[in-house]
Amino acid sequence: MAFVDSSSVKAQAPSSRVGSEGVTSRVLLVGNPNVGKSLLFRNLTKRYVMVSNYPGTTVEVVRARASFNDRRHEIVDSPGINDLTPRSDDARVTRGLIDDDPDATIVQVADAKNLRRALLLTMQLAELGRPMVLAVNMLDELEERGGVIDTERLGQILGIPVVGTVAPNQRGMDTLIDAIREARPPAPQPINESDVDNLYAMNRARLERVNEILAGIYSIEQPHHASLRVRLGFWAMAPIRGMLVLAVVVGMVFWFVGLFGAGTLVDGIETGLFQQHINPAAIRLTDAVLPFPHTHLTEVISQEVGLPITPVSNVTIGTFNREVIVPDYAIPDGSLGWFQHVFRFVHDFFVGEYGAVTMALSYAFAIVLPIVTTFFFAFSILEDSGYFPRMAILVNRAFRRIGLNGKAVLPMILGLGCDTMATMTTRILETRKERIITTMLLALAVPCSAQLGVLLAMMATLAPASALVWVGVVLGVLMLVGWLTARVVPGEPSDFILEIPPMRRPQMSNVLMKTFSRIGWYLREVIPIFVVGTAILFLLDKLTLLGRIARLGEPLVTGWLGLPAETANAFLIGFMRRDFGAVYILDAATGPDAILSPHQILVAMVTITLFIPCIANLLMIAKEHGQKVAWSMAAFIFPFAFFVGGVINHVGTWLNI
């Protein structure tokens, strides 16, 4: 049977509806994941897209306005779901969207190749008794396979308009728009199940009904030959070839995020924009508004513009030097009046060493923003290509040992971008146990990209064997602590049942839209935390507590770690800005007057990697899991980082390396 257009639902609209122009009605797109909902959404709307997170979740909901059928519509694209039962965040959001507006028309989008699963969802939606339309999308792919579907007959059985569509080339869109006007509640389906509380039994009964429906009107065949894309999809999850694909992907992402983003872009914005222009301007402005006698030091800040090739070599295009004032200043002799003290306090709060502008904003915008932008971009491309589930297959077995499953690979990868942000995305994990373990490992052993760049530069000064020791120690700690945490934290890990979507070529417009929406989310959620964290540091500094804490730590650093006393400050700074701590040590290791031996560099590298990431991350942990969890993690990580560093120091000394 060939494809039959849904002429039965194309009845002419009654003219009385025309008068309702100006009334906005809502159209809700619902469907399984990867059925082309987003593309259909764009075909229906074309403009004014608004992306937002559904309240209380990280799930993105896209809305846009459109006019058709003489009415204004708000089109809402819900996250892809397999089951209406509100067990996952995605399903809760979709359920919420359906319940929020009882008058909304539901347009279910189905993959023509996978109609069985789509109709399971249709059965569930039908039980809600809401006006709906079924769009059978990707019809071309079904026809390519020699499959057929009788949409007219399906429409009669379901009692709703059923339209065949091919979203990329707009086929069936006019029919779909006409059908939205004809949307009606589906006919009740004979489902043999009395035990309505048993979700599994209900779904089985629904599937039986679906099989009955499909028996006479639908057929599909397996493709005879695999395309390159399909084969690439297989390679990406096969044992050895999968590892090769993974190595290539990680290498490319590392170059783009770690070298181009964290190197070139950060340099450009931090040095070129903030240090050379914004900070001096902010200092001058503050000095003009709040005058007190002081002279800022000047420094020549040089910015190198180039393209990175490896962590330690790049092609330099040019160097720009500029002599500017820096936050450090000297006060001439003679005491300040009380109001001058107040001025100085406010001055320092905004543009001092731990100032809101000179530290918090320049950190957030100049260092983290370029990194997360490149990271989110690479992440969206990988996400849209369908690669992540394949990666989860590769790591599932290793993650099982640490109480997680392959799905936790996403936050862990995000952690290599920014641990603070990754901590927030642990929300996608299903059980609390998994969220706590992942958060713990992120804070302990996953270096963020800002830190990773500096660590790699340090590694370049070491022998390859020492670099391997560093990688081995960090991975070993990750596995060991994960294994221990999995035993300490109560609860069960969730099942690893993961749909592997087909590999797709990512659509650039979609990737960009997602990247921008995530950057917006990052700015709203993370920047306040940076500002608060910096304010805490500022107060500690004003109360001269910083110096005291550093002095307290000195015996530990010199005695146990065998490092020079100067590095104590590096660890303290490392808590505020993870990369800064590493930079201190890099200076001590490779600077003009290097004071560290290779053995000491290794000890310092391990300690600073394991050290809690930064104050923003700690605040984020407290926000996500509560103060108790945050403090317990800190109480474990601080001593543990020093413990491992000391062990390496003593073992190394003992082996006389």
């Binding site: 089951d83 599994y200 049942i497």
Partner: protein, 148 residues
Amino acid sequence: MAKYLTCPFCGFEFDSEDTLCHHGCPLGAHCKLIRCPNCQYEYAERPAGVRWIQNLFRKRAHLEETHPELVTTARELDAGASATVMCIGGTRESRKNSLAVFGLVPGAEITVLQQRPECVLRVGETELALDADIARLVLVKRKNGVRS
């Protein structure tokens, strides 16, 4: 001689002695219900006369002998092998439901795409990765009688 029963829900074949719910159950002596030890489905055994009449009208396929050597778990199948799902073990209904929404229910036809590093099945047009432990709970019957 033990009596063999076939669960009408999941197709599992078991010895009547294995219906464990009768042990220690105060109603055991009077209860005529049979509970499948695999899927916990409870059903009443049909009287012999009814069965005889039903057998007369039953399709040939149902009378086909069960070949125990064809029955295995999804984990045991080689990559590329196809099979029909007979039943899904375990007691966690939520897990069975998570599989059901992907179409993995008794009666579904599956093809194993790979077993390493993790088991990946194709159910209809869906490719599904499963933990080895879960794949072991999916009891299947090899298709075409081919044993590899």
